[in-house]
């Protein structure tokens, strides 16, 4: 598995840690700004992912399905809402 240097890890954290990815935090030191900007450029590649079109009537069909489940007494298989699992 490839790794990032400590400097690149800090750059990624500076962009993403608090949510709502930004480009270069204004408080970043000058020498860190360049690295953060490079990290941001790499991340911005993700903006190339197309926005999938939402199926027409998805919300309405979902409500219908839930309503039907309520009428028929269908329930989901018993399972915890948060499924503990090893992912790493």
């Amino acid at each position: 598995m490839p790794k990032l240097s400590n400097a690149d890890q800090s750059a990624i954290d500076g962009i993403l840690m608090n949510g709502q990815a930004t480009s270069v935090p204004s408080a970043a030191p000058a020498d860190a700004s360049g690295r953060i900007e490079s990290a941001a450029r790499v991340l911005r590649l993700l903006d190339r992912l197309p926005e999938a079109e939402v199926p027409v009537g998805l919300a309405e069909r979902t409500v219908q399905r839930i309503q039907k489940a309520a009428y028929t007494g269908d329930t989901l298989p018993t399972q915890p809402i948060v499924t503990p699992e090893p992912l790493a």
């Binding site: 990032l4 490079s38 450029r41 992912l49 998805l58 790493a88």
Partner: protein
């Protein structure tokens, strides 16, 4: 369990949803549309209203997340039909578990927790079937190097953003689709959905340190796979 309804206009003309047939994937009937909720009504207020018996509140919650949750699921699963199934199952779970939701918490991370779990369950199920290459790598066997990825260098190799738009888009799609699912998942939650590390930890039920290390690994994997897929990348 509360009834929920759809209505065709903000004028609250209700079209009661009865126990009719459930649409199968790909079928598009024309159910009455759901009016979007007022933007100043919070998710938690809608869920609370649903718990109190407001028949529109849940439908409005589904409508509010129709786009964002579907986009997450389709990017994570790589399959529109599967994404729609998981979307519906997630809200069915929300509906059935609404009474257990801790109203002191935020609804959005809870919704994504449920959806991510269901998506992973589906992927595990599909992985047991030989015909479901959801996690096919674009470069099998290239993930064991342990090499350091320098993001400054990687950024310097990016093409001019104005060039080769379609090709670049397809390339990025293939790279993201080829990432291990747990790395793709965390990258989507962080970059596209703007969850803070702490919230991601709650959604994935992992410690903050693991959020960081997994996200770093995800970016490194993305950059490495992009470089591998673009050996002739030119300087911008």
């Amino acid at each position: 369990m509360n009834d929920i309804s759809t209505h065709s206009s903000p004028g609250r003309r209700r079209a009661e949803v009865t126990g009719g047939s459930t649409m199968s994937r790909g079928e598009h009937s024309t159910p009455a549309s759901i009016a979007p909720p007022a933007p100043d009504v919070t998710d938690e207020q809608l869920l609370s209203a649903h718990r109190a018996g407001d028949r529109d509140a849940f439908a409005q919650l589904v409508k509010r997340y129709e786009r964002e949750l579907f986009l997450f699921l389709v990017r994570f699963l790589g399959d529109r039909a599967a994404a729609e199934d998981v979307f519906q199952e997630s809200f069915l779970q929300v509906h059935q578990s609404a009474e257990q939701f801790d109203m002191a918490r935020r609804f959005r991370p809870w919704l994504f927790t449920i959806a991510a779990n269901k998506a992973r369950d589906l992927m595990r199920l599909q992985a047991r079937r030989p015909t479901a290459p959801l996690q096919a790598s674009i470069s099998p066997g290239d993930d064991d190097s342990g090499e350091y990825i320098d993001l400054v260098r990687a950024a310097s190799e990016l093409p001019d953003s104005a060039l080769q738009t379609r090709e670049l888009t397809e390339q990025v799609q293939r790279v993201v689709a080829g990432m291990p699912s747990h790395l793709r998942e965390i990258l989507l939650l962080s970059y596209f959905h703007g969850f803070a590390y702490k919230q991601i930890g709650e959604i994935l039920d992992i410690p903050l340190g693991t959020v960081k290390s997994r996200l770093h690994a995800s970016v490194a994997e993305f950059a490495k796979k992009w470089r591998t897929a673009n050996p002739d990348a030119t300087l911008s």
